[in-house]
């Protein structure tokens, strides 16, 4: 039996496989942790570089006092602004605000100093970092290096990898080397790290480039002149190397996850398919293990398997075997019972007959007559009980012949008109022959059963309709009465052995629910089928038999 909203095994396994999603999540968490560690390392490295440069500049106040080479209006304005802010916070002395005219000598000295600083900076500068030195007046004294990495080292992979990167790019953003290298002015304007360094404490800062495409990390370290801060060294680097490591890792993770997913999914689906196939095969066999006639077949599916399905199959088989024994017992029960009862009945009968032969008084004769009447009824029951068994035996050995079904039906109906005086029987049959293959005697027996049923359930005086017609390759034989409709729960079981819609009641004729079963056996012997349905409008019941015509 199938339920409508049931999830198949495959769907269930697919749902369970969603648990695999925890793996990429864990991977991402791990990559993020790694990134944090790397960033901390980078931070320390930057600070160390800044400290190293600052150490080189300690106690060389002259170098830092010089005015910067570039001395444009914008810078001045920015510096003024910064100084104002600093003053308002009470960090710079009031006097420092005055604009100093640049003397020629001072300019030369400054250039010299700058070159010296630049030389020092070049000594420690790395390709991806930018170093600059700023004096107390927020003047940038020297600047070395750039933030951009050379793009060549980034792209050196195969075409396939390239394509994959492109695809993965939808999910994982790679760091771009195409960002605006901020002019130090902006950095100065907002640099908390620098401010902190000029206060005497090394500072760190992480910021976005002005266009927001990259993250720049900077470290500032104060340059000491004796006990006061003379300036600051700033080291900047983008986090791009780490970010690209991270996105590499994520890409690899994504690729691995996808491959693992596809692999796992393929394996799981394959496994589930195999499993559900085996179970389905078992189910199909189990469903058809008991055929329409109630016979039992053996279950072969998975019976050799060593796993639970094999166990299931074997216990099914064992159960069916036990059921089959029971079934055989039941099947032969009626026959055996009637056989076993014959001998005691013969004892009773022969005793009664002997009693009749003896010169017995009238009183005894009455009782003997009654006993014989009961005996006759008992005999009828026995005959009915063994009828189906006998028919099954007969069907096994019956010879098939071609015969005209129409002639049989016409003959039978003529007979029924005599037999069922209270029920008018209407026949509609074609005049031409309808040839079928089987046994005319059995067909007559089948029609006997159908008409007997129809007449019994027919209200007195109402007609029973029997009709025969050609429907394609089949002959349709139908019997309709105007009696009560079929109880819904019985409809599918009507043609099984020992099933009766009659209410239990005592009557002269015993009913064991074998009549329609016998009819079905005969219909099937003819290669046909039998069905019962309510007549349209609830006007009685129609039993239809389809028998294949011979050509």
């Amino acid at each position: 039996m199938k339920r409508r909203f049931a999830l198949g095994l495959r769907a269930q396994l697919a749902l369970v496989a969603l648990a695999l999603l925890a793996l990429p999540w864990a991977g991402v968490s791990f990559v993020n942790e790694l990134e944090r560690t790397l960033l901390a390392g980078q931070e320390r490295a930057l600070l160390a570089t800044a400290r190293a440069v600052a150490t080189a500049l300690h106690d060389r106040p002259l170098l830092l006092e010089a005015a910067p080479a570039r001395d444009d209006a914008v810078r001045r304005e920015a510096e003024l602004e910064l100084q104002r802010i600093a003053q308002s916070e009470g960090r710079l002395p009031q006097t420092a605000i005055a604009q100093l005219p640049l003397a020629r000598e001072a300019e030369l000295a400054a250039r010299k100093a700058q070159e010296e600083i630049a030389a020092i900076l070049r000594g420690v500068q790395r390709t991806e970092s930018r170093l600059w030195v700023v004096n107390r007046r927020y003047q940038v004294l020297a600047l070395e290096g750039g933030l951009r990495r050379s793009t060549r080292e980034v792209h050196e992979d195969g075409l396939l990898r390239e394509a994959w990167r492109h695809v993965a790019g939808w999910l994982i953003r790679r760091p771009s080397e195409d960002f605006a290298e901020a002019v130090p002015d902006d950095v100065l304007a907002t640099g908390r790290d620098i401010a902190s360094a000029l206060q005497g404490t090394p500072g760190m800062r992480t910021r976005l480039t002005p266009d927001g495409r990259a993250v720049v990390m900077s470290a500032a370290h104060p340059v000491w002149n004796a006990t006061e801060v003379a300036g600051a060294v700033v080291v900047e680097e983008t986090t791009n190397p780490i970010a690209s490591l991270r996105s590499d890792a994520l890409e690899r993770l994504l690729l691995l996850t996808l491959v693992a997913f596809v692999g796992a999914a393929a394996i799981l689906i394959g496994f589930a398919t195999r499993l559900s196939q085996r179970i389905r095969r078992l189910r199909d066999e189990a469903e058809s293990a008991i055929d329409a006639r109630g016979r039992l077949a053996r279950i072969a599916a998975g019976s050799d398997a060593g796993d639970e399905i094999g166990d299931l199959s074997r216990s099914f088989s064992a159960m069916l075997a036990r059921l089959a024994q029971h079934h055989v017992y039941l099947e032969s029960m009626a026959g055996r019972l009637s056989h076993e009862l014959r001998t005691p009945i013969a004892v009773v009968r022969s005793s009664l007959e002997n009693l009749k032969l003896a010169a017995a008084p009238e009183e005894i004769r009455t009782y003997v007559a009654r006993a014989e009447e009961g005996l006759a009824r008992l005999n009828t029951i026995l005959q009915r009980m063994s009828e189906a068994t006998r028919l099954e035996q007969a069907l096994r050995t019956a010879e098939r012949e071609r015969y005209d079904l129409a002639a049989v039906v016409r003959g039978c109906v003529e007979g029924y008109r005599l037999a069922y005086a209270a029920t008018p029987i209407v026949l509609e049959a074609p005049a031409r022959a309808l040839e079928v293959s089987g046994s005319p005697d059995l067909a007559a027996q089948m029609l006997d059963k159908l008409v007997e049923n129809a007449a019994e359930f027919s209200p007195p005086g109402e007609t029973v309709r029997v009709w025969l017609e050609e429907q394609g390759r089949y002959a349709l034989l139908a019997v309709q009465n105007r009696g009560p409709t079929l109880p819904a729960e019985m409809r599918s079981r009507l043609f099984e052995s020992m099933v009766s819609v009659r209410e239990a009641r005592s009557g002269p004729v015993p009913h064991l629910g074998l009549g329609l079963y016998v009819a079905r056996l005969i219909a099937e012997f003819h290669g046909g089928a039998i069905e019962a349905a309510d007549a349209p409008g609830g006007a009685g019941v129609i039993v239809r038999v389809h028998l294949p015509l011979t050509r």
Partner: protein, 229 residues
């Protein structure tokens, strides 16, 4: 001298009942409960007629064996099977072994007596020269009502008593349909419809063995059978 009938039946009550009933009708009856006992007694002195049950005690087919052994002792001894088994298979087996009739235990005593009497008559007359006294002729068919024998186109058709009476019932009024019940009554047989059908089939086959073109017993479906001239 009264005729001797041997009854072989394992159920003591039935055995006693039949034995007494037959004795009341003037037969001398010896009753046996087992095959070995019956065979030994009959070897010593052959009865005039034997009524045998198929299942004797634990041996389900003892009656068949006994029938074969009796037939070996005497080809002319009338043998009747009287048994609870009514499947076609058993009937065919029994008759093939040479029994003269096959009755189920539903048969009433009067019917059984009628058969026994008929068989005795047939056995007796078989020994006398054939004098056509009571015969019924229908075309190529000739029924000897005394010997219960039938010839078709001059050739004998080996029918059992039951079958003989059925043919007799059909032939008496050619063209008239006899339903199964009537046939049963005429054949002194109480069985169900299916048995009549298989009896008729066997009769047809026996006629066809003599004459392959035999088609004179016609089925009127739903009603019965008739003899077609």
């Amino acid at each position: 001298m009264s005729r001797r009938i041997a009854i072989v039946e394992d159920d003591p009550a039935i055995r006693a009942n039949y034995a007494e009933a037959l004795r009341k009708h003037g037969f001398e009856v010896s009753a046996y409960g087992a095959r070995a006992e019956a065979l030994a007694a009959m070897r010593a002195r052959l009865p005039d007629l034997a009524v045998i049950d198929i299942g004797l005690g634990s041996d389900a087919d003892a009656g068949f064996e006994l029938c074969r052994e009796l037939r070996a002792l005497s080809a002319s001894l009338p043998i009747i099977f009287l048994t609870a088994r009514d499947s076609d298979f058993d009937v065919v087996s029994g008759l093939r072994l040479g029994a003269d009739d096959y009755l189920t235990k539903e048969v009433s005593l009067p019917h059984l007596l009628a058969r026994i009497a008929a068989l005795f008559r047939r056995a007796e007359l078989a020994r006398e020269p054939a004098v056509a006294e009571e015969t019924l002729e229908r075309g190529a068919l000739a029924l000897d009502l005394k010997r219960f024998s039938i010839t078709w186109r001059g050739k004998p058709v080996a029918l059992t008593l039951t079958e003989f009476w059925m043919v007799h019932a059909l032939v008496r009024h050619p063209g008239h349909v006899k339903n199964r019940e009537q046939l049963m009554r005429e054949a002194n047989l109480v069985v169900d419809d299916g048995t009549v059908t298989s009896h008729v089939k066997r009769i047809r086959r026996k006629f066809q063995a003599v004459d392959a073109g035999f088609e004179h017993i016609e089925t009127a479906y739903g009603m019965g059978y008739r003899w077609k001239e």
